[in-house]
Symmetry: C2
Subunit: 551 residues, 2 copies
């Protein structure tokens, strides 16, 4: 059975899910769904790689590079990956390019889906690799970097497959001309744009990179995966699986290459500016993302920085709300592009089912909830994880001294029961006035939040949408029991290109977006010009070219 036949049902089900946008997940997200010894074996596999050359890739290199360091042990992983200069990588990518673009969508989708299934067998190894590069807690490292990333990849993959099949490969065109007719045989080819470059980030090495990688590959482009020097291993595991399946099926494994660099000798600009690189996927800071967007004649997909807001107007259940927004702030120490930063709270307090709650009481509840989670040794260490890098740690200590703001809650290190050297930090809570835009209009990546005292939610909404349009926003959480206010928020946030989660409570948070249902990013504000996975995310990676002749 060929790989397309093997995965046909999954492909069909996934395409259906793409259009229904109800719950769909192909890869089970809970560790308990896997074999009992999978965790142990995964950890062992991870440990066995430490201090060695990474030997799973079917590509060679002129040197071996690797700068990864665990935020939990603050020690180098010592893993080295094969590295080549940009001209060698490009030359190798071209070797297999013709065969790959000429392969049918069925062949490509079969191979790529097979690679995701193979990656599944490494979800536990990947969880440890992700923990010790990103600093994510174990559960997030398992879920976000494993099944959730694979499902987002699957989403992009089948969206690409669907788009390639959207128009017929050929058709007969008959134009009536009165007494005669003109009859043409026509055909169309989906032509890949060229070499794709996927530039990874240090916090979500697979989740943020797999959609672009699979979208470019399914549409026939060879791919260069340029991981962040601080988080290589997780995506190296995926690239290895792709290369393996490519080779088994008679394709050159260099169709998908790892393109590692180091902090001291970065290769990203050289690759991005190379004339043969036609597609770029990027997650990272806005300055570099904006530069990439100016590169002429390339399809550039960016996810940059933004300032996310929580808008509070009224609620039926104040404690659930407080619990929910506190957890959102804690999750992975705020090192998520969807984490809330700006909490707009009415100075006169809010109405709840149980009566009025003053501004002061709300703040007190919030601080109590944050402490209750962060300082609980059974919760804090696992939800906060560790701080990925020293820049974030420095940003946090600098922010505590931010002139003009008032510290409501200081950040502190907590003990991680498993890793005594873990770089940890509980959230810093700063209070500012609504007029102090300069303090809270930029993203302060990490566990830093502003309580912004506003007249009412309408003032908060006006500021938040203004900042979103100017500086970007990936998410918004809003609490209101008023239908009119809700509609106003939806309308104005829509114009700011910002998705809104209303009245979230319980085990669902604004930080999370679900594949096959939530678009991640909208492309409608400066935080991202791309969206996982809307049609634009696919169609800019290839062009339709037609041919015709008399039939």
């Amino acid at each position: 059975m060929n790989l397309f036949e093997k995965h046909k049902e999954t492909i069909e089900t996934a395409i259906k899910a793409l259009h229904e946008r109800t719950f769909f997940a192909h890869y089970p997200e809970h560790p308990k769904a896997y074999a009992e010894d999978a965790d142990t074996k995964g950890r062992e596999a991870y440990v066995a790689r430490l201090g060695k050359n990474f030997d799973l890739l079917l590509q060679s290199g002129e040197t071996w590079l690797g700068d990864e360091e665990s935020p939990y042990t603050q020690e180098a992983l010592g893993i080295k990956y094969p590295a080549s200069d940009e001209e060698t990588l490009i030359a190798h990518a071209k070797k297999g390019a013709d065969a790959w673009r000429k392969a049918s969508p069925e062949v490509r989708v079969g191979i790529l889906l097979e690679s995701l299934d193979r990656f599944q067998s490494r979800f536990f190894e990947n969880a440890y690799a992700t923990m010790h590069t990103t600093g994510q807690g174990y559960m997030m490292a398992f879920q976000a970097s494993g099944p959730h990333a694979a499902d987002r990849a699957l989403e992009a993959l089948v969206a690409g497959y669907e788009e390639l099949k959207r128009f017929p490969a050929e058709a007969t065109w008959v134009k009536p001309m009165g007494k005669y007719e003109i009859k043409l045989k026509k055909s169309w080819r989906a032509v890949p744009k060229g070499i794709a470059l996927i530039i990874g980030c240090s916090t979500f090495p697979t989740w943020n990179s797999l959609p672009g990688l699979y979208a470019s590959l399914i549409t026939g482009n060879p791919a260069l995966v340029k991981p962040h020097p601080g988080a290589i291993l997780p995506i190296a595991l995926v690239v290895a699986e792709i290369q393996q399946v490519l080779q088994e099926n008679g394709f050159d494994p260099h169709i998908c290459q790892l393109a590692v660099d180091s902090y001291s000798s970065p290769n990203t600009k050289k690759l991005a500016e190379h004339r043969d690189v036609k597609i770029i996927d990027y997650t990272g800071n806005s300055a570099f993302g904006n530069y990439l967007e100016t590169l002429h004649g390339k399809s550039v997909f960016t996810e940059k920085t933004g300032v996310n807001s929580i808008l509070i107007d009224s609620t039926d259940d104040v404690d659930s709300m407080i619990q929910n927004i506190s957890f959102s702030l804690l999750l992975y120490s705020g090192q998520m592009c969807t984490a809330p930063q700006n909490y707009y709270i009415p100075e006169g307090g809010i109405e709840t089912k149980d009566g009025h709650i003053s501004y002061g009481d709300l703040i007190a509840k919030l601080i109590e909830a944050i402490n209750g989670l962060a300082l609980n040794p059974k919760v804090g260490p696992f939800v906060l994880g560790a701080i990925q890098n020293l820049d974030t740690a420095k940003r946090l200590s600098d922010s505590a001294k931010l002139s003009g703001s008032r510290v409501l809650l200081e950040s502190q290190a907590i003990e991680n029961p498993m890793f005594k050297n873990a770089r940890t930090a509980t959230p810093l809570l700063l209070e500012v006035d609504a007029t102090q835009h300069d303090l809270f209009s930029q993203e302060l990546f990490g566990p830093i939040a502003f309580i912004i005292k506003v007249k009412d939610i309408h003032q908060g909404l006006a500021i938040a949408t203004d900042l979103g349009k100017k500086y970007g926003a990936m998410s918004c959480g809003a609490y209101t029991t008023n239908q009119e206010t809700k509609e106003k928020i939806m309308d104005e946030m829509a114009l700011a290109g910002t998705p809104v989660s209303f009245n979230l409570a319980g085990g669902i948070y604004i930080n999370q977006t679900a594949s096959f249902s939530d678009f991640h990013g909208t492309g409608g504000n400066p935080s991202a010009n791309a969206s996982f996975t809307n049609p634009e995310y696919i169609v800019k990676r290839f062009t339709w070219v037609g041919f015709r002749e008399p039939a």
Copy 2:
């Protein structure tokens, strides 16, 4: 009956056609399909507008502008259009914008389809308006500017409608969590990007502008139509119909405004750079198109210049081939972005069903065919039409003296039986060697062609694809009876983003692309970053924004 119900069948049929890509035309293309007196009435309506203020628009202006001049009479039309500065136009566009974006796709598609049907009643008036602004011959002015343009608009319109309906407006998302479930109500909105600017050209004022206009309007954006100062009337007629239908249905007519300027005081850059203009459609020269493409944060769709080629290898019917490629060169005096310019002919001649034909004999046949058409008083004037502007006339006379080339056939003026002052020119044919890239690598817009002597078709193909990748190409015509050569041409032209017409004979020419079947432009080379109408042409005009809340 509302307008959606009225046009529902057309919408459904057209969407089906978009995916089948067999022949589909909604608007009859032949004048004889219309009422007997339609032509007379159309000409009278056109004549009645000369020397007057254009009074069909539902917008006012601070001044009246109009620089149009007929290439047939070389006299000013004297029609003036209401004009406003860019801030006034933008402010007016915003007035109706909220109502338009909040209208359902059904309401918008109904209104826009109705406007196209109303435009149909002006096809004859529009034919004369097009003749006397562009210089097109009557039949082309009727077809290309009327039914063909309306069908391309319909294509973009229903492609937009389909894309807006591609995802559900709402869905319930239920995630099983073992003993409980998380249930969210989700909804999505297609949010328009902002004000759209459509920048027209002087040769195809409706055909090249209507797709972008209708694509932007259906996706909820208000539109500013900036015609070329030399060709306003045809598209002013369309804008007038759109405004009328908008007003009849309770919308502000300023959702679609004419934004005229003059040669002495152009407004295009001011409009294009305006912060509220988020979408730009453009047809014209590459220098300005490339500048527009660099404007950050805007969706820019361009059709610029390119160099189209005819590749000759072998043929079953040499006379049909010669007749076909000669006609392609004559049609509207080569003033088409799809007109062939570079004819690659093997120095050793070619094989035909009737034996070998030498290079010299092929050239002789081509010259004979061109003269036979151009100098035939019953054919030449009507196929050639007139030269739109003095720049093209000057380019033609300059090219006759092009250093390094040899003149095979001189251009000459011919008499037009109806317009003694018509600015006419038969094709100029220049012979160059394959090495003289600098002579033929740029578009020389107008009736100018190069005969490029090549070793064989493979050398021609190599040069043509190289030039296509560097400078762009909108079309290619190839003649070969060899299957292997054909596949090679398809593959290499695909990589150069250039559609190929093989072995065309009879009444179909490489210059023509059919709506609902041929993509016009591919976006795959520098001649155009846009394609009528692939999905990319639609999806970059709006973003998907999602909302969710506990169900």
